[in-house]
């Protein structure tokens, strides 16, 4: 239809058949559709992120007096194991001695505990390789050993050997009193 009409009337503006106006409508409609789909896609993607109640359970309080010297208590925090370890003088000394050793993720022992609280080491108990739970007392550095792929951590939870890329993570926590910490 358009072919015959355009042939008769050389000025397309008169007939309202200006192809550039059509293009504009096509592009505008297409862009609106893409925008609408993209906007609608976000709720469908974001619903998989942690829900409100999951986030609400994200912090816990822990009573340190339950942990004896040289002991480790594992508690569940955010679905993951949390190591609360009361270190012996020997372990602290071994960790400080290695502060300048060749390490994959160099960190001084003092950066891994709260000031003046060298005894208390609080760590997320998942191997930074693939998330297994390391066991204490294994490996040649006196710290943790991961049974899955053989990562070895020292008494400060720093990675010393094996495939893990990073030190055991220190969560956000604060001392509420001398015997109470709030994690998260």
């Amino acid at each position: 239809m358009a072919d015959t009409v355009v042939g008769d009337r050389p000025d397309p503006h008169v007939s309202g058949e200006d192809p550039s106006r059509r293009d504009f409508i096509h592009i505008a409609a297409g862009a609106a559709a893409v925008g609408a789909v993209a906007t609608l896609a976000w709720p469908f993607i974001d619903q998989m992120n942690p829900a409100g109640d999951t986030l609400a359970l994200a912090s816990i309080e822990f009573d340190l007096s339950k942990v004896a010297k040289g002991q480790q208590v594992t508690v569940k925090w955010r679905g993951k194991p949390l190591f609360v370890r009361s270190r012996t003088e020997k372990e602290i000394a071994a960790a400080v001695k290695d502060d300048h050793a060749d390490m994959r993720d160099p960190q001084a022992d003092a950066e891994r505990h709260k000031p003046g609280k060298a005894e208390w080491l609080i760590l997320i108990g998942t191997c930074t390789h693939l998330g297994c739970v390391p066991t204490f007392g294994g490996g040649e550095y006196g710290g943790w050993f991961c049974p899955c792929h053989g990562s070895v951590y020292d008494t400060s939870g720093r990675i010393r050997k094996g495939p893990a890329p990073k030190n055991l993570a220190v969560p956000d926590y604060a001392f509420l009193s001398d015997t109470k910490v709030k994690v998260g």
Binding site: I45, M48, N49, P50, A51, T54, A58, T74, K76, R78, G79, K80, P81, G125, T126, H129, L130, G131, C132, V133, C146, P147, C148, H149, G150, P163, A164, P165
Partner: protein, 439 residues
């Protein structure tokens, strides 16, 4: 689906339907009269076997979903209830669990057959890529299905595999949290895995439809790897291959039944009968047997991101295989050198599977440690898997591209029905046409 249809509607109803929705015509053209090369051997029966296994998995899976509870507090107990209390629940669950293994076994044979006979080469590249998509979907489905019983291996397997994504720089951690729906593998994770485990088989079925469509455009490859030249070279799909496939399916189901009834747990891991405990990891984490080669590649690389890239690269390289292989001759029957490398490749895959099941530092030969090379003892499974993984990639990235350019293939027969086919090596001079013209 392509070519001339031979269907002739017989009854009035068939004629009426054929004008409106030619469903019977399609079924006839794909499953009855479809011209199929007459020299297909038993390695070609695994397509039919796979279709049957997919059907089994969907039917048993839907039944299990009627009794299973996707919640961290109830999942393990509901699976035990299926095993003990639900009528024939033990049978249906064992069929589903072992069916997954049989499905993967059949798909591996199907894929190796492809590699040997060059079925992925032009004009079947899309057919091959769709097959790779099906394989990826199958692995995702199998992995998520294994998480559902919520035993120790389920849980920690899910932890390890989802943590692989955390190896990605910058965005890795947020993607992992997004996948988990929390800060660890927990109830939201189990819920969504159940939903996706239910969905994916139907997506597989859809891609299988495309796969069969893409098969029926160029038609089947065959053991000689040459194109069908005339009607002489083919037989109708029914009854010739319905019966041959049917016989193979019966044999395969006997194997399947021997696992279901006599050794239903041999392919699983005993630790998965312990309820999931996020605070204790089993001493020795192993994936299901069908993932072991990739797991070995993951552990062979002493770097987290590198290991993950290696593992996914091992599957990714399959997608570009049609463009890596430079040889115009499809079947390795006529490529004696390539055939040798192919069998070493099969061996490398099996070796990787063995390595994936063992601890990386264990000695391969029981003579204790030898000497340390770079970061591990030479006599260890980590070094064995490095050698095998290197060969795996070299086969696709070096051997197949180079070999196609330098090797001299044997003479290829004129046609499938030509009498030279039984002795290709002693083919008369007239049969030794240049293979590159045959594509």
């Amino acid at each position: 689906m392509s070519g001339h249809s031979t269907y002739e509607p017989k009854t009035g109803f068939e004629r009426w339907l054929d004008m409106r929705l030619p469903l019977i015509r399609m079924a006839n053209d794909t499953m009855v009269s479809f011209p199929t090369p007459k020299n297909l051997n038993y390695w070609w029966t695994f397509g039919g076997i796979l279709a049957v296994m997919l059907g089994f998995q969907i039917v048993t899976g839907i039944i299990l979903a009627m009794h299973y509870v996707p919640h961290v507090d109830h999942a393990f107990a509901s699976v035990e209830r299926i095993m003990r209390d639900v009528n024939y629940g033990w049978l249906i669950r064992y069929m589903h669990a072992n069916g997954a293994s049989m499905f993967l076994l059949a798909v591996y044979i199907h894929m190796f057959r492809n590699l040997y006979y060059g079925s992925y080469k032009a004009p079947r590249e899309v057919l091959w890529i769709l097959g790779c998509v099906i394989y990826l979907l199958m692995m995702a489905t199998a992995f998520m299905g294994y998480v559902l019983p919520w035993g120790q291996m389920s849980f920690h397997g899910a932890v390890v595999i989802t943590n692989l994504i955390g190896a990605l720089p910058v965005i890795g951690d947020s993607i992992t949290t997004w996948l988990w729906g929390g800060f660890a593998v927990d109830n939201p994770t189990l819920n969504r895995f159940f939903s996706l485990h239910f969905l994916l088989p139907f997506m597989i079925a859809g891609v299988v439809g495309l796969h069969i469509w893409a098969l029926h455009v160029p038609g089947n490859n065959n053991p000689l790897g040459i194109n069908v030249k005339s009607k002489e070279d083919t037989v109708p799909f029914h009854p010739y291959y319905t019966v041959k496939d049917g016989f193979a399916i019966v044999l395969f189901l006997i194997l399947f039944a021997s696992f279901v009834f006599y050794n239903p747990n041999v392919l699983g891991h005993a630790d998965n009968y312990i309820p999931a405990n996020p605070l204790v990891t089993p001493a020795h984490i192993v994936p299901e047997w069908y993932f072991l080669p990739f797991y070995a590649i993951l552990r062979a690389v002493p770097n987290k991101l590198g290991g993950v890239i290696g593992m996914f690269g091992a599957i990714g390289v399959l997608f570009v295989l049609p463009w890596l292989d430079t040889s115009k001759v499809r079947s390795m029957r006529f490529r004696p050198t390539a055939r040798l490398y192919f069998f070493i490749f099969v061996l490398a895959c099996i070796v990787l599977g063995f390595c994936g099941a063992r601890l990386p530092d264990d000695p391969v030969v029981p003579i204790g440690s030898t000497f340390t090379l770079i970061d591990a003892d030479l006599n260890s499974f980590v070094w064995l898997s490095r050698v095998a993984a290197l060969y795996y990639f070299a086969y696709f990235l070096v051997i197949l591209p180079v070999l196609g350019l330098i090797e001299t293939p044997l003479p290829v027969p004129e046609s499938i029905s030509a009498p030279v086919l039984s002795h290709p090596a002693s083919a008369p001079a007239g049969a030794t046409a240049s293979p590159e013209k045959r594509g």
